[in-house]
């Protein structure tokens, strides 16, 4: 059963609409085949289509200067969840599959797989000709070693993604057999997470500690030595990289600039070529600056207002629905994100696979809000507290608007701002009434978000610390995990989204994008909805 019905490697990368849109550029993508297409993807960015159009005129060499808000603390993929670590190590170490900028899985160190008839045995064939940066070829034992290491690390922040795997075996040097405990539809997606990146078996003979100071990987870049807490880090092109002719850059210099203003000023002053995490308030002024552009990339992210169902007022479904009706999400987005985000509806962001646009969202309506509250046990309203991470301006603005809007249905809100760390440990102890936070998906499959937000028992977060418990929704989450048929899965996830929208355990406030400012001389830069960017396709003019 080759290819099966899982998101097939390399399928649909260019739609007919894209072809019409890009004209010549689009056909070039088709001719270049799936891999090249994955780098160009279906994103509607003029710069990229220009890059593809002139792909025979790619300029080589140069150093990309990239200012990021957070630096790395470790390069061990099995033991981190921090963005500064992830987006450094993923340039050096690669997994069997990756998610392209359009949000689809594409085969990477694997070329494809065969699935047994009981849906429990996956046999992957490895890409021929792949070498590690030390010149040694990639073999099946490396994959077995790496993924076993990640999944057996109980303290690994993402080892839960490998929970369906019961055994991994090398078959010869070029294929790997995975045994699963049950049919597990998110499997390919799980394999694509950075934590499942492939290292040389036994750390190529080094100690684990030494290995991660200068990791050896199959990725487009290499690192001479890692110094924790340095203010910059330079990656060099890997001469053994398996995509012939890539990377185009000689080197990438990451600079760590945690102050938002500094990052913005550094790109305006021409000191760097790309900055991440642009504050929405700066978008219009940056767009007006000459020589650079602001790019928004859709993210698997949703901002949520979570309500504590262990309290009587929020255990009352009518109260939760009243609050949802009372919050004017388009107004919220307009005020706080300066038009960069989309107003919230379903708890799945639109960029996520199996998002259902037809979910019956409780749209803003003061009349409906009042009607719902009248049916609740608290028809005259009540006083409550809203916990936020006070260090993030967006949350402060959100909280103030929500406070004003809930006032109109007689719910008085007191805002409690705490610093990030105190904020997290407070809501995790259920020491809150309502809080605002964002939820993200680390992989292309929506199972992670669905279980985390809905499966109160096994999801890992008691429905994002809301204690929301709907057995029907939980059963659907489990059914979707075992369903390989894409159409049937879509129907299951549509039902889940429908139930959650009706139960209103949390209000999906908005879907924010990733915001980058990029100099005009940078070509081919794209970010996938998980927040990862591959730099082997980037070149400078």
């Amino acid at each position: 059963m080759k290819g099966a019905v899982l998101p097939t490697p390399g399928q649909r990368l260019v739609t007919r609409r894209d072809l019409l849109k890009y004209g010549v550029a689009g056909s070039a993508v088709v001719l270049l085949g799936p891999l090249a297409a994955s780098s160009a993807s279906a994103s509607a960015r003029a710069r990229v289509s220009a890059a593809v159009r002139s792909s025979n005129a790619v300029k080589r060499g140069g150093t990309l200067r990239f200012a990021r808000s957070i630096g790395p603390t470790t390069l061990d993929p099995a033991n981190t969840i921090i963005a500064g670590d992830i987006y450094t190590l993923d340039k050096i170490l690669e997994p069997l599959y990756v998610t392209n900028p359009a949000g689809q899985l594409v085969p990477w160190l694997a070329t494809g797989y065969e699935l047994s008839t009981d849906h429990r045995t996956f046999t992957f064939s490895l890409r021929p000709g792949v070498k590690f940066s030390n010149g040694k070829p990639l073999v099946a034992d490396d994959v077995v070693f790496s993924i076993n290491r990640t999944r057996k690390d109980a303290a690994g922040p993402l080892s839960f993604l490998d929970y369906a795997i019961t055994d991994i075996e090398a078959k010869g040097t070029d294929s790997v057999v995975f045994q699963l405990s049950q049919p597990w539809a998110p499997f390919l997606s799980d394999l694509s997470v950075f934590a499942n990146a492939v290292l040389p078996a036994d750390f190529a003979g080094q100690s684990e500690k030494d290995f991660f100071t200068a990791p050896i990987g199959t990725g487009p870049f290499t690192l001479d030595g890692f110094t924790p807490d340095a203010n910059s880090l330079t990656l060099k092109a890997n001469p053994n990289y398996w995509q012939a002719g890539k990377p185009y850059l000689d080197a990438v210099e990451f600079l760590y600039v945690d102050n938002d203003n500094q990052r913005v000023l550094q790109i305006q002053g021409g000191q760097v070529d790309i900055i991440d995490t642009v504050p929405p308030a700066n978008v219009s002024s940056l767009k007006a600056s000459s020589g650079l552009d602001v790019d928004l990339f859709s993210a698997w992210q949703v901002d949520l207002l979570v309500m504590n169902e262990r309290l009587p007022q929020f255990a009352d479904r009518h109260v939760r629905r009243a609050i949802t009706y009372a919050i004017d999400r388009p107004a919220l987005v307009h005020a706080a994100s300066f038009g960069t985000a989309k107003p919230g509806g379903s708890f799945f962001p639109p960029s996520l696979q199996y998002y259902s646009a037809s979910t019956s969202v409780l749209e803003y309506s003061l009349a409906q809000a009042k009607a719902e509250l009248a049916q609740s046990k608290f028809p005259n309203g009540f006083s409550t507290k809203l916990l936020i991470d006070g260090g993030v301006q967006k949350w402060v603005t959100f909280a103030q608007i929500i406070k004003a809007q809930l006032q109109s249905i007689n719910i008085n809100v007191d805002i409690t701002p705490l610093d990030h760390s105190a904020f997290e440990s407070t809501f995790q102890k259920y020491d809150y009434d309502m809080f605002i936070d964002y939820a993200i998906n680390d992989i292309s499959d929506p199972d992670e978000m669905a279980s985390f937000e809905v499966d109160v028992k096994d999801g890992g977060s008691e429905s994002y610390w809301s204690d929301y418990d709907n057995p029907k929704a939980i059963a659907l989450v489990h059914a979707a995990e075992a369903e390989y048929d894409a159409t049937k899965r879509a129907a299951l996830y549509a039902q889940i989204q429908e139930i959650v929208a009706e139960d209103a355990p949390f209000v999906a406030l908005d879907y924010p994008p990733y915001i980058y400012a990029v100099s005009d001389h940078v070509n081919g830069f794209e970010v996938n909805p998980g927040g990862a960017y591959r730099l082997e396709d980037v070149w400078l003019t």
Binding site: T73, T74, I81, I82, A154, A155, P157, L158, F160, P228, D229, A230, N231, L255, V257, D258, N259, N261, Q262, L265, Q266, Q268, G269, G270, Q271, G391, L418, D419, H420, S421, A422, E424, S425, T426, Q428, F452, G460, S461
Partner: protein
């Protein structure tokens, strides 16, 4: 003198110990969990508990304090939770940056203070005097984070004369990167110094020995810098010392604005991550720095004015 210094050092040790103790208690009483910062939201409760046990965070506060102090006495500042290297090595990598910033800011402050106060004092109630006094009030009112951004906008983004931020490479590049931060930090202290030195000089100008100096036929500049300034300097030196101490604390803000990797930004990020050992060690070093500067100020004042008896 030696006995005085020894007594001051002993007092300093007590002060630093007090600072350390206060930091320890404040950090541990504040909610927030370093294990969550490292493991993320998806971590299981058992993974978090394992890490906390590993770091000794599960024992009672007095036990943790005892452990911390016994390590400290042995010269061990602890190991960072986040970076997994010793706090001492993190500080070692950053202390130079903060020291350089403080030094450059102090030099700028002196360069502004001496001529401006001499100008104002020599033209008392004249136009120059009023301008200097008005400027010093404006300078006092400028918050560092705002003034720093204005300097960047003008000198780096528009005129491209200096870097926006960061540390540069090589000695020249490094110095270049310290000009704007140094200016920003010096503006927080120069106004006070100008006002103090101006008043001091005015007082000295009325003294009889100045009249004598003038009667001897000395030039006005020579009178101003050789006699007036020298004698008016003592209170300003004391004030300068106090301000350097204050400046060490305000590096937290200036380093943020200019993206300098010094102790201030290390302190801030460690507090946000609840990286307890690094917070402890950094406050210890910053506290010791303040105490040392104060001590040096007192010794210098005594040297400038032999009438000051060190007791």
């Amino acid at each position: 003198m030696l006995r005085y210094a020894a007594r001051r050092v002993a007092a300093a040790v007590l002060v630093v110990f007090g600072v350390t103790l206060a930091t320890f208690l404040l950090m541990h009483l504040e909610p927030g969990d370093p294990a969550r910062a490292v493991l993320g939201l998806h971590a299981t409760a058992s993974a978090v508990a394992t890490l906390r046990r590993q770091w000794g965070l599960n024992s009672s506060l007095p036990v943790q304090l005892g452990h911390f102090l016994s390590q400290l006495v042995q010269g061990n500042l602890g190991k960072s939770y986040i970076y997994n290297v010793s706090a001492a090595s993190l500080i070692g990598g950053r202390v130079g940056q903060t020291a350089a910033l403080v030094a450059v800011a102090t030099v700028f402050a002196i360069i502004f203070t001496v001529p401006l106060s001499a100008l104002a004092a020599s033209r008392q109630n004249g136009v120059a005097d009023h301008v200097v006094r008005a400027l010093s009030v404006v300078g006092l009112a400028l918050p560092a984070f705002w003034f720093g951004i204005v300097l960047i906008e003008v000198f780096a983004v528009r005129l491209h004369l200096l870097p926006v931020g960061g540390e540069g490479s090589g000695f020249g590049g490094h110095l270049e990167c310290l000009v704007l931060p140094g200016l920003t930090a010096s503006f927080a202290m120069a106004p006070i110094l100008v006002r103090s030195l101006r008043v001091g000089m005015l007082e000295v100008m009325d003294a009889e020995f100045i009249a004598v100096a003038r009667a001897k036929g000395l030039g006005e500049l020579r009178v101003l810098f050789g006699h007036v300034a020298r004698n008016a300097l003592v209170p300003t030196v004391t004030l300068l010392g106090l301000n350097i101490a204050y400046l060490i604390g305000s590096t937290v803000i200036v380093e943020q604005v200019f993206n300098l990797n010094g102790l201030g930004s290390l302190l801030l990020s460690s507090i946000l991550n609840r990286d307890f050992p690094v917070v402890q060690a950094t406050t210890l070093v910053l506290g010791a720095g303040v105490v040392i500067v104060n001590l040096a100020t007192d010794l210098l004042a005594a040297r400038l004015d032999p009438r000051i008896r060190l007791r």
